[in-house]
């Protein structure tokens, strides 16, 4: 073979057998293909928008909304803007998600622990609850609870609980707290209590680590949280009153009303997610090997202390990551509110979309908001997880 005359195809063939060159080529092709696809979509969209006479952009956020929202956490009227309507919706989503996450966690941990208890009957009952709620679509459960709640008696025949709570087909009416002058001081002292608890807790933990001396943190903490605020509350003459619901001819006056939509959505999301959480908790507790319990007992720890100091810290490591994704699922599932008319972010976005016709912008806002909620939650949970993770030696 001649040394000088390198065949023309040789360089190319060598490039083909070189993995780096091949993967570079492949990546360039992928980027090109993606760019072409995006360009195709964008040009079609532009053409379609022009054909319908729509102007892309977020300028419509400032336009007047002309629709009402019955549940709002901030001031809103039909004369407010689309942008404000979306904020109201977002707050409603956050409200039901926060409520749901709290109650789902409580339900899930209780059910998970009860299912492991040595009580046969309770174990079976919890199993039935878990299997049934897990295997039925959550949308169906939301609609079911909503139709139960709207099937309650009319306002005239409201069910009364202790003369303060009234259940009817328009929701639950309950007393509203009225904060009078001086309640601010109670809040301030409560906040001081929180700060004090934090610092005392840190000091107690350090001392425990250094000297091994225990500190009754639970009682001291509770005392610090409640006592100062309670004393200020009594000294300043109990600046809190209740606005009791009062029967009028056709409805109730006073108090505040929780809509059946909110209650149904909250209840359905908590029981649904609670059943998943209970499985996670059960798996987490079971994942701690029996040797740990036995070792703790051998060291003379009592069962409750074994649970608190040995089993739960280890189980949490297994529980936290899947728990995070359940919280995210709950937040995303709260968008099913649209099916029963709870005015959450997606539902209000849908109204905005129909009124303004700006579909791309509204869907874009949905995606950006939910993605940031997801990423923020998982960032926080990752931080918490690394905080409690096993430190490798």
């Amino acid at each position: 073979m001649a040394v000088s005359g390198v065949p023309a195809g040789f360089e190319l063939r060598r490039m083909w057998t070189d993995e780096r060159a091949r993967s570079a080529l492949f990546q360039v092709l992928v980027v090109l293909g993606l760019a072409l696809l995006v360009a195709f979509f964008v040009s079609n969209t532009m053409a379609n928008l022009q054909a319908r006479g729509l102007e892309p952009g977020f300028g419509f956020f400032g336009d007047t909304a002309f629709f009402d929202i019955n549940q709002k956490l901030i001031d809103y009227s039909s004369q407010s803007t689309f942008g404000r309507a979306l904020v109201v919706g977002l707050l409603n989503t956050l409200l039901v998600s926060a409520l749901g996450i709290i109650s789902a966690t409580v339900i899930g941990f209780t059910a998970g622990v009860l299912r492991l208890s040595n009580n046969w009957l309770v174990g079976r009952l919890i199993t039935v609850y878990v299997e049934f709620t897990r295997n039925v679509p959550v949308l169906l459960q939301i609609i079911f609870w909503w139709s139960v709640l709207t099937g309650l008696p009319k306002v005239a025949d409201s069910l009364s609980i202790g003369g303060a709570l009234f259940l009817n087909n328009r929701g639950v009416r309950m007393p509203a707290p009225i904060l009078e002058n001086g309640f601010g001081w109670v809040v301030i002292f409560f906040a001081l209590g929180v700060v004090a608890t934090f610092f005392v807790g840190r000091w107690a933990h350090r001392r425990h680590m250094a000297t091994g001396l225990p500190f009754p943190m639970l009682w001291v903490g509770l005392g610090l949280l409640i006592l100062p605020a309670l004393i200020v509350f009594i000294v300043s003459g109990q600046p809190l009153d209740w606005d009791m619901p009062e029967r009028t001819r056709f409805n109730y006056r006073g108090g505040f009303n929780v809509t059946p939509e909110l209650v149904a959505l909250w209840w359905a999301l908590s029981t649904y997610t609670g059943s998943f959480i209970s499985e996670i908790v059960r798996a987490g507790i079971l994942s701690v090997s029996k040797g740990q319990t036995e070792a703790a007992h051998a060291l003379g720890l009592r069962p409750r202390l074994t649970m608190r100091k040995i089993i739960i810290p280890q189980a949490l490591r297994v529980i936290i990551p899947p728990l995070t994704s359940q919280y995210l699922n709950l937040t995303k599932n709260s968008s099913l509110a649209i099916a029963i008319g709870y005015q959450d972010f997606v539902s209000i976005g849908n109204t905005v979309l129909n009124q303004s016709g700006q579909a791309i912008e509204v869907v874009g806002i949905w995606m950006v908001v939910y993605l940031s909620l997801s990423l923020a939650t998982s960032a926080f949970m990752n931080w918490y997880n690394s905080h409690i993770a096993l430190v490798d030696r």
Binding site: S23, F26, F41, L114, L139, L140, Q141, V148, V363, L371
Partner: protein
């Protein structure tokens, strides 16, 4: 002087005595499992009380006080449930608006699912190898049966409805999302940075948003992205976004499986001189997929339940059929009855799938415990 050692001799064995009555038999079991402490006792009593409240009422409502036949809700005169709609409406619940003389096609497609699934679910079945070819062609056969074409009367997809729509969307989503999910999972672990970032972005975006917003994309945005001359059917668009959504979840499940394959397997494959695709196809993926089957089944359960969300964009799945029926004056207010019926259906399907995945997990569990 000799001291007599102290001992006692028992010349024959004592007869066995039964354990104390309080720790064995029925009484022992009850004491250990129902009344082991004061808390347990309270819980047991509460549980019994709840059952005593619920069960008779539920049975009366569903069976003993219920009406099963009649032309409309006014025929239901007793205090319990009204199941009279069943006679007239069951076909709509099952097939939606599919032409009634053609519903045999849906049944055949469903029946063929059994031989198509069997070789995948039970790998020790005789003849599984040959049946796998049928499994591969099943999607085509089923699509042909449902939509029609050559020789069969064509049925437009807007006539799809009821359980049949849920099953169709769910099955199409799972069948399509599995290969895409595998590609995405491999992409996420790829050494090529651009491929890795793109796969990661796809997975995070589709996992991060609610399915409902994606359904709005299918209903409103997809037609905008495409040229006006090229119109995709709504059901097809829904299947596209459901597939994208499910593949993102599938990719994460399969990534878990890929991570569980020990490094030694990759290294051994490289030592044998296998390239990337052969390493993956022959060594890594078979093991990874086997590990991820329970996760895949769970994804499918989730996807199947999520098919009910199509009601928000106006498709007539079983939930919507039920809602429409109870808005009809003849059947007004039978919300609970229809919802109970539909939940039972979903429960039976999803519960059996989850049992299957539990059994599978136990079978695949090769650890010594």
């Amino acid at each position: 002087m000799t001291t007599q050692p102290f001992f006692r001799q028992q010349s024959e064995l004592l007869a066995e005595r039964p354990p104390p009555a309080a720790t064995s038999g029925v009484i022992g079991w009850v004491r250990a499992n129902l009344f082991s402490g004061w808390l347990s006792t309270i819980l047991t009593l509460l549980g019994v009380y709840m059952l005593w409240l619920l069960i008779p009422g539920l049975l009366d409502w569903a069976f003993f006080d219920a009406d099963f036949h009649g032309d409309d809700r006014f025929a239901c005169t007793s205090s319990g449930a009204c199941w009279a709609w069943f006679d007239q409406r069951i076909n709509q619940f099952l097939y939606g608006f599919y032409p009634s003389e053609q519903t045999w096609r849906v049944n055949v497609a469903l029946a063929l699912l059994i031989p198509a699934l069997a070789p995948i679910l039970f790998d020790k079945m005789p003849g599984a190898k040959h049946l796998r070819w049928f499994s591969l062609t099943y999607p085509v056969v089923a699509t042909f049966l449902l939509i029609g074409g050559v020789g069969l009367e064509e049925v437009p997809t807007h006539k799809f409805g009821g359980f049949m729509l849920n099953v169709t969307v769910g099955l199409a989503g799972i069948v399509l999302s599995l290969p895409i999910g595998i590609v995405l999972a491999l992409g996420r672990r790829s050494r090529m940075p651009i491929v890795r970032v793109l796969s990661l972005a796809f997975i995070e975006i589709f996992r991060g948003v609610p399915l409902i917003t994606l359904l709005f994309v299918a209903a409103i945005l997809l037609p905008m992205f495409l040229p006006p001359s090229f119109s995709l059917d709504l059901v097809v668009r829904v299947i596209v976004v459901v597939t994208a959504f499910a593949s993102a979840y599938m990719a994460e499940v399969i990534r878990g499986g890929l991570q569980a394959v020990p490094r030694g397997q990759y290294e051994a494959a490289s030592a044998l001189g296998l390239g990337y695709w052969k390493t993956m196809g022959l060594i890594v993926l078979p093991q990874a997929l086997k590990i991820s089957i329970p996760g895949i089944v769970n994804t499918f359960i989730g996807l199947f339940k999520d098919t009910t969300l199509v009601i928000v964009i106006g498709l007539f799945d079983v939930l919507n059929i039920g809602r429409t029926m109870i808005a009809n004056p003849d059947w007004l207010g039978l919300a609970v009855e229809t919802q109970v019926f539909i939940s039972l259906f979903f429960f039976v399907v999803c519960f059996s799938m989850s049992r299957y995945s539990v059994v599978l997990e136990q079978r695949l569990d090769t650890s010594n415990s």
